[in-house]
Symmetry: C2
Subunit: 348 residues, 2 copies
């Protein structure tokens, strides 16, 4: 993309347009800007500048004789070049935020994160569950349930607990169950799901002797649980916030958006795909850049969270293109800090 350089006044005008449009949702005209403090120019002057900005593709008129609204490119420019420099948000503004409470169940925590974010941003939010495959196995326990079934409980680092019911052919006495538990834990704990390969498995089967089949079942069940996991673990909140932004609810758009949020799966997939590029941690998708079709009229801001121990996942805020990017980014950063406090401090 070619580098655009704007003089100071143009920058101020662009910012003014973006901020004003963000608040009102209406195209903003030269008069409005002229009346703002800081910019003591007549409407005519502003108009000349706006014509230039329009030529650069940063703003457009929805129709002749309407005010201007920012284009995707305009927002992109704002986000990339200008957002960080204008620090007019006092730090105190974030003090009214809702705090995340520490809870033991990861699922509950993630849902809570989605809710808190939705409440403090007024946009829709989503949180993907952690990527369990990279996460180490802490502890595994099987126990007989009595009716030809066994219960396998797996605990990963970060206290992610999963259980699975397994049907087995043989009946095991208490003694055997104990020794199988011992065997399983000796070989598996400390490994990530990815690291449980054929070599490990065949070694275990050897040691298990006549119970090799059962061991094999257990491993399969564990693998299946975590494979299935990815489909299920997306949490969303604040879906109805989109009704506050008329540009998102015209026609059938509201319905499509909400059903995308309800289905969750496609969301998670799209987000996870962009994993590799997250070196900057916070990523902003504007309009067409959003990798979900039904959200091409939205902007999405994502961040990667970490619950200690390398358990990480994605967290996203979905709003209109005129969302308050600065506030969203601040809030996300703030949330990360809170998570760090909650998870790092008591454990280190």
């Amino acid at each position: 993309m070619e580098q655009i350089e704007l003089d100071d006044r143009k920058k101020k005008i662009l910012i003014a347009i973006i901020q004003n449009y963000q608040e009102t949702g209406e195209p903003v005209g030269s008069r409005t800007i002229s009346k703002m403090t800081e910019l003591n120019y007549s409407p005519a002057t502003i108009r000349n500048e706006m014509a230039d900005l329009e030529e650069l593709g940063l703003i457009v008129q929805p129709h002749t004789s309407a005010g201007r609204i920012p284009t995707d490119k305009g927002y992109r420019y704002y986000v990339d070049q200008m957002m960080e420099k204008t620090q007019n948000l006092p730090a105190a503004a974030s003090s009214q935020e809702v705090l995340i409470k520490r809870v033991d169940r990861v699922e509950e925590l993630l849902l809570q994160m989605a809710q808190v974010l939705a409440a403090s941003t007024n946009y829709a939010t989503m949180v993907t569950g952690p990527h369990l495959k990279k996460n180490k196995l802490k502890f595994l326990q099987i126990s007989a349930m009595g009716d030809g079934r066994m219960l396998a409980v797996v605990v990963l680092e970060g206290n992610v607990v999963r259980n699975n019911i397994i049907e087995i052919d043989e009946t095991l006495d208490q003694e055997t169950v104990s020794s199988l538990n011992m065997l399983l834990n000796t070989h598996l704990s400390g490994l990530s799901i990815e690291e449980i390969n054929l070599a490990v498995i065949s070694r275990m089967k050897e040691e298990a002797g006549q119970h090799a089949a059962t061991v094999s079942r257990v491993i399969d069940a564990v693998a299946e649980t975590f494979a299935r996991e990815n489909d299920f673990s997306v949490y969303t909140s604040g879906a109805t916030n989109i009704f506050k932004y008329p540009e998102l609810t015209g026609g059938d758009r509201a319905s499509e958006l909400i059903s995308t949020l309800e289905e969750k799966k496609s969301l998670g997939n799209a987000l996870v795909q962009y994993e590799g590029e997250s070196r900057k941690n916070i990523q902003i998708f504007i309009g067409d850049e959003v990798p979900v079709d039904s959200m091409k009229d939205c902007s999405v801001v994502t961040a990667t969270y970490e619950l200690g121990d390398g358990v990480q996942g994605k967290l996203g805020v979905i709003g209109p293109k005129r969302m308050d990017y600065r506030k969203v980014v601040e809030t996300l950063k703030d949330t990360m800090t809170q998570l760090d406090h909650i998870f790092k401090k008591p454990e280190e």
Copy 2:
């Protein structure tokens, strides 16, 4: 409520109005009804009858010179008096239904039920998790996680599995954990959550001796898990189906409805409240009868499901007042039958 008796022709007209309005969503006039087969009367005759039906409060005109639409009372009459008798739905109509697959995780099954119901009815659906309190404990297992914490896993009849992480003060060796497990299972298995009373607890504490505190922690944790449970376990699907019915989406109604569905809690509470009256199994709430404020413009049909072993919960379909009550009731019954097949057959 006074008993209303209608002659045959009035009944036919009322049914015609209800069915027509259900399909079109538009007030239906005398001409339309006159043109239907079966009723070979002129519009004028129909008009006279309609005037009578209006006097009885079964139908209304939204405004002068508009057709008639059914009132809540009209629907109620239809549902109570006439629905069962008119069996014009061929049984084959239900053959196209999506089937429920058997899955082990109860949560997954419930979500699936909500989705299947939404897909086959075109309305919004909700499913409350089973009422665990009445459900018997099958199996309980604690195990040391190593860092001063224990993992408690509880299995109820019907294979509902819950886990909870507990912080404890003492460090327990493998031996002790085993004997505590033995103790816990001996005393608790076979009891429902409600039946775990002080007497049982104090007897266990006695036997546990120096580990009484830990036993107490475990019990507390189990109790807390199931208390918290009720808030979380409501599954919904097909929320966006409401956009198909303009009478539900005017103004802010759509937003309110969707957010009620998103919050889930209030839904569950409202439904569970009507527990006691479910002798007939299927219950129909029309308009104002719905115990949720934001759904006063809807109708809700609920049923009580049972997953073998007495594990039961509620299941609801939410749609416009002009919903196809017959089809919804049939679909619900069908779903129940499917559940019975899945859960009764392989176990008995």
